[in-house]
């Protein structure tokens, strides 16, 4: 392994581990500015995590080991997914044809355990969140796959390494303008999978209208830190994938700089959407996701009929 590759890998790990907690801070700051408030500091996410990691924990007597395993598996799965997505340089830490499927499956594993941990408490509220999360993610899953398929069709390959090739200055999106449509679909999945408006409202104080937050009501201390960190990593991964679709990526460390800009840009976009929109009625969420799926299918149809 030469020095440049080693540097790339170290950079990848550093970005994956250190950057995510910044994103919720950016989103909240944007929302605060739009609303004319000053809002919490950008680093609030890190401070929250540090606080939670120092705390003890209270466990419900109803719960089993599943409740304790949920945050651990949830975080391990999203971090493993982060090893598959190219962040700095051409390839990720682990790269092989078909890694995009493993990426989606790992996000599924994270969700599976989060939902189980919620059901483990026997609480009506957490069951509600679990039910919504399980149901809506069944709609988000095909959209994510259609977006990934669009990328693969455009690149004629089945791995992130070839699909998100950063070599040269032209972005994937410039090679195939229709990928911007797929990017729009991906942005919808990003909002849904990361519990954002218009699918979920992370800042509401009413449990009845929540999805993700209500699932983790019973978690506290390091467990909650794992969950919040995992959620931030997930938002970071979706933002990074989105950035790869719409931005030109130069090779080398400059690519990492573009990635950071792109990810922060995605967080700003999320903040603007949250400022401008209200949450959809729960019954409308499947329609929102089916619409996103139709967008991705449209992009695919254009790619397939116009030739690649």
């Amino acid at each position: 392994m030469n020095a440049a590759l080693l540097l790339e890998r170290a950079l990848h790990l550093a970005l994956l581990l250190a950057l995510p907690p910044l994103l919720p801070g950016v989103v909240n700051r944007v929302k605060a500015i739009v609303a004319g408030r000053s809002g919490p500091g950008l680093l609030q996410g890190y401070l929250d995590l540090a606080k939670l990691l120092r705390k003890g924990a209270v466990y419900s007597r109803t719960t089993t080991w599943i409740f304790r395993a949920g945050p651990v598996v949830g975080l391990a799965a999203v971090l493993a997914a982060g090893l598959l997505l190219p962040l700095a340089g051409r390839t990720a830490l682990l790269s092989f044809p078909g890694d995009v499927i493993a990426f989606a499956a790992l996000l599924g594993l994270s969700r599976f355990f989060t939902v189980l941990a919620a059901l483990d408490t026997g609480s009506a509220f957490e069951g509600m969140g679990a039910s919504r999360e399980a149901s809506f993610s069944a709609f988000a899953e095909p959209v994510l796959f259609l977006v990934l398929a669009t990328l693969c069709v455009a690149a004629g390959a089945a791995g992130f390494g070839e699909v998100l090739e950063p070599v040269g200055t032209a972005a994937a999106a410039l090679r195939h303008p229709v990928l911007l449509v797929a990017a729009a679909a991906l942005f919808a999945v990003l909002l849904a999978e990361n519990a954002r408006i218009p699918v979920d409202d992370p800042n509401t104080h009413l449990e009845l209208t929540m999805i993700h937050e209500v699932m983790v009501l019973d978690h506290g201390g390091p467990d909650l830190a794992f969950i919040q960190y995992g959620a931030a990593v997930k938002l970071f991964l979706f933002s990074a994938l989105l950035a790869h679709l719409v931005l030109p990526f130069p090779a080398g460390p400059a690519g990492a700089a573009v990635l950071v800009l792109g990810v922060l840009g995605a967080a700003v976009a999320v903040g603007l959407v949250e400022s401008a929109m209200a949450r959809l009625r729960m019954g409308r969420v499947p329609q929102f996701l089916v619409g996103a799926g139709a967008l991705a299918a449209l992009a695919l149809a254009v790619l397939l009929t116009r030739g690649r």
């Binding site: 089993t64 499927i101 609480s123 809506f136």
Partner: protein
């Protein structure tokens, strides 16, 4: 080979012994089942050896009947299915050996005999190398397995499920008779080698034969819309028999499809598209209904439907790849489908056996009367969690590996095949993803409602792990699932040769297993990451205060177990979108107004596939038959006249035709 012959003889003995011991039922069951287990052990050893050595043999046995010689043989495809068959049948029988007497199962001798006969018939189906033996074994398998479905025939539900199964099976078998008759006409004999030697079929004929095979074998594999028998049959059969039915018998439909593809020669692109469409519809329907079910066994049974659909989808991807000259896509599709056959056979028998254990321990199959079983039945709960994770297609379990193989086949197909085939591959991807999402939701629900939370009734309060042999069989199955999931490379190498055969290749493509090696590293990394985080959590909490308390009720102080989300309310947000596939018949209305009086509301789930496709078709068929019924006068003289007239006609035909 001698091991496989020994297995066949032992199975024959296992089918006969209970008849000889008919007076002593318990002994008959034990002897028959023990012989079956021994046969499966021998057969498993023989089949794995044959698979490892890539054995490809064929033998002819002379038979003093007009149909001529009987041919049997073994190739990687057959050997692979034999491995699945003997593994599933052996471990399920081991479970049944303890469970059947413990749950007060009646007529054990009959159960053991028909179990052995079903296994023997399946081995015959897989080994047959001519149409006559194939169909004979096929029919024997259907009839013998009917007696397994309808075993508890004192219950009307079991009788009804058995009859439904029999009708669907025979309707399919009728098509298979046509299929093999047409193949024999093309080949000039019933032997498979004769069919292959006769060269390629005309495209129209090949297409017709493919359609016959898809409908005929699709019924046995419970493919949409011929899946309606499955959700009734599996829950009604004794658990170990249900494991055999779902784990092995339904897989014979897949074997039949693969053998038909083998006989029909190079496929056309639209066959793959048809398989993708049927498989996708099956997978989505099965997963959706699994998500909606409130009966643990029915949920697991519908998940069988889903997974057979996934297998058919994989076959479709393989056929697409083969038809368009993309060996890697073809191999990935077929390898994924075949490995899924093995994986699903293992996981589904695991879950059906566990569902049986849960039903025995609690006296109910209703998810809404269970809850909190993970605490009371830790081993059963742990094994069920493994199975649930596997069927949700998640790493590090075995089903993830097979789904990864066929999904990456579909992804490569979408990326590299010509536009129309790529479009089919994209549809395959999207439907698989939808089915996968729904299946994950279904098993989150099964485990979350059935095993976690607070007890939902008094039923689970006294439940305990069954222990003993039952636990042994279940842990063995769970162990194999976990091992295959932790070692994707080993798992993917099992169907490698059989998949190459199905893809029309002499060996697996060179680059096929490389990504799987990388996948293995990824799985290892995931496990290490999980262990590291678990250690970090333990370290963080070591010197902190960790207390036990009540579940946070958002300020509400007196929650009850009935306030938990139920098996009916959990899937509610998703179901409305799928009215075309699943309807909910509601009788009565729930409590209404500020001061509600007593109310009763009943909701029944309806599989609309039945009402949309199968029932109208059957009704039309019966109407057509009503016209023929004129012939059935009910008078003996009339029937004698028919016999006489037939003889005269045959005589006349012979006289006219023969020179």
């Amino acid at each position: 080979m001698s091991l496989l012959a020994a297995a066949a003889l032992l199975l024959l003995a296992a089918a006969l012994a209970p008849v000889l011991l008919a007076r002593r039922d318990a002994a008959a069951f034990r002897v028959g089942t023990l012989l079956t287990i021994a046969a499966c052990a021998a057969g498993f050893a023989g089949a794995t050896a044959a698979l490892r050595d890539g054995l490809n043999v064929e033998a002819t046995f002379d038979w003093p009947l007009p149909i001529g010689a009987v041919r049997a043989g073994l190739d990687p495809l057959s050997a692979f299915f034999l491995v699945v068959l003997f593994l599933v049948a052996g471990l399920a029988a081991l479970h049944g050996l303890a469970a059947h007497p413990a749950r007060g199962g009646r007529a054990g001798g009959r159960a053991a005999a028909f179990y052995a006969l079903t296994v023997l018939a399946m081995a015959g189906v897989v080994a047959a190398r001519d149409g006559v033996l194939f169909l004979a074994a096929w029919e024997l398998m259907t009839v013998a397995s009917y007696f397994l479905v309808a075993h508890e025939d004192e219950r009307p539900e079991a009788r009804r499920a058995g009859m439904t199964y029999l009708i669907f099976s025979h309707a399919g078998a009728a098509l298979l008779f046509v299929l093999f008759a047409l193949l024999a006409r093309h080949g000039g004999g019933f032997g498979f080698d004769a069919v292959r030697a006769a060269g390629p079929l005309a495209p129209a004929l090949a297409g017709t034969l493919f359609g016959l095979a898809l409908a005929g074998f699709g019924g046995k594999a419970a493919l949409f819309p011929l899946h309606l028998w499955a959700p009734d049959a599996y829950p009604e059969a004794p658990p170990h028999a249900a494991a055999l039915l779902s784990g092995a018998v339904s897989k014979m439909g897949i074997y039949g499809l693969l053998r038909a593809l083998d006989l029909l020669g190079p496929p056309e692109g639209w066959w793959g598209t048809a398989l993708v469409a049927v498989g996708g519809a099956t997978a989505v329907t099965g997963a959706l209904h699994a998500f909606a079910q409130r009966d643990l066994k029915r949920l697991v049974a519908y998940s069988s439907v889903e997974n057979l659909g996934v297998v058919a989808l994989g076959l479709g991807v393989g056929v697409l790849g083969r038809a368009h000259g993309a060996p890697l896509v073809a191999w990935l599709g077929f390898a994924g489908a075949l490995l899924h056959v093995l994986n699903h056979g293992l996981v589904k028998s695991l879950l059906l056996l566990l569902a049986g254990d849960v039903a025995d321990a609690t006296g109910t199959r209703a998810l809404d009367r269970l809850g909190a079983l993970a605490r009371r039945m830790p081993v059963t709960g742990g094994a069920f969690l493994l199975g649930a994770l596997a069927l949700a297609g998640l790493p590090p379990l075995n089903v993830f590996v097979s789904e990864w193989l066929l999904l990456s086949g579909a992804l490569r197909g979408a990326a590299t095949l010509p536009a129309e085939a790529a479009a089919a591959a994209v549809v395959a991807l999207a439907l698989l993803a939808l089915a996968g999402g729904l299946a994950a939701a279904a098993f989150v629900k099964a485990y979350g409602v059935g095993f976690l939370g607070a007890p939902r009734s008094t039923a689970p309060l006294a439940a305990r792990d069954p222990g003993g042999l039952r636990q042994g069989a279940v842990l063995a199955l769970a162990g194999v699932c976990l091992t295959l999931g932790l070692a994707p490379e080993t798992a993917a190498s099992l169907p490698a040769a059989a998949a190459a055969l199905a893809a029309g290749l002499s060996a697996p493509p060179a680059a096929a297993l490389e990504p799987v090696a990388a996948l293995s590293r990824g799985v290892l990394l995931l496990v290490l990451l999980g262990a590291a985080l678990a250690a970090a959590r333990a370290l963080l909490l070591r010197r902190r205060e960790v207390r036990a308390g009540a579940t946070w009720g958002c300020g509400y102080e007196a929650p009850t177990a009935r306030m938990q989300y139920t098996a009916a309310s959990f899937p509610a947000p998703a179901l409305g979108t799928f009215e075309g596939l699943l309807a909910r018949n509601v009788v009565g209305a729930g409590p209404e107004g500020y001061f509600p009086a007593a109310a009763r509301r009943e909701e029944r789930l309806v599989d609309t596939a039945g009402e949309r496709f199968v029932v109208p078709l059957a009704r039309r068929f019966l109407q057509a038959l009503a016209r023929v019924r004129v012939l059935q006068g009910g008078r003996l003289q009339l029937y004698l006249l028919y016999v006489f007239a037939t003889l005269v006609l045959l005589l006349a035909w012979q006289l006219v035709l023969s020179p």
